[in-house]
Symmetry: C2
Subunit: 155 residues, 2 copies
């Protein structure tokens, strides 16, 4: 469990009620990691939603050769800064991570149990609405940032 | 106005109630365009949500040179196929399109009035929840597809 007040500081959770923040705080934990730690892997079940408190993490995307899956390359497709959420697939069907996340420096991170969060969403439509809208906004922001990278790579 | 039954065929709207579909159908219109028509422009207010019925449209992303905004390049960052939604920024704050959409062939398109749709969302949390979740799912799918393109461009 973490302090609900900690969550309130971050825009993703900012407008939730005291009770909603308390419910989320109860299914959340804080951990600190060294540089180079893989926090989540693409194409695996999205079991946790993450909030980066300190440090930085890289979003990586792996491309396998069709007939040689053992030969793959990893590309940096984004970075997460303190205060940002990652692992939003925990909120969005089919609940499977779409990139790999690795700490780029020592990092302090909050994990929120995805299954428990989804159960809260089922019984609290206001919470669900808020979280889905935030997740959509975030996905669109990252889509935009990735398009900027793509355009730069194509230029 | 379009037929509510037309909307029901598409997964984005599939699980909505008869009344919700009717409400959306009442703020929707169908139009046909020639190839090469710009349907929406990036960085402009997201006034409409679109559903592609027939044909195909390209998602384009413009990059301006910092000190020479008149010199810009346009990059293809995605394609939309029949049955797919585009212009999801109409549902997601700050309600500004993130790419330009141009018909790549003659296209039959449904426009849904974004402002009216957002008003429905304000009074109908179930509708809002459903649409935000769908928008988030779609944004994440496009993010994934764009990462594939980015990785290919970097490879």
């Amino acid at each position: 469990m973490i302090s609900p007040e900690l969550l309130r500081r971050y825009p993703f959770f900012g407008t939730l009620s005291d009770e909603q923040l308390r419910n989320i705080a109860m299914i959340a934990d804080e951990e600190t990691y060294d540089e180079g730690k893989i926090l989540l892997k693409e194409k695996t079940p999205a079991d946790d939603l993450f909030l980066l408190i300190k440090g930085s993490v890289d979003l990586l995307f792996k491309v396998e050769e069709e007939y040689h899956p053992e030969r793959h390359k990893e590309f940096l497709v984004g970075e997460i800064n303190p205060g940002e959420i990652f692992g939003i697939s925990a909120l969005i069907e089919p609940h499977e991570y779409t990139s790999t996340v690795r700490t780029a420096s020592p990092a302090q991170v909050i994990h929120i149990d995805g299954r428990a969060l989804r159960e809260h969403c089922e019984t609290d439509p206001t919470l669900a609405c808020h979280l889905y809208a935030q997740a959509a906004r975030l996905a669109l922001e990252r889509l935009n940032a990735t398009r900027v990278q793509l355009a730069a790579a194509l230029a």
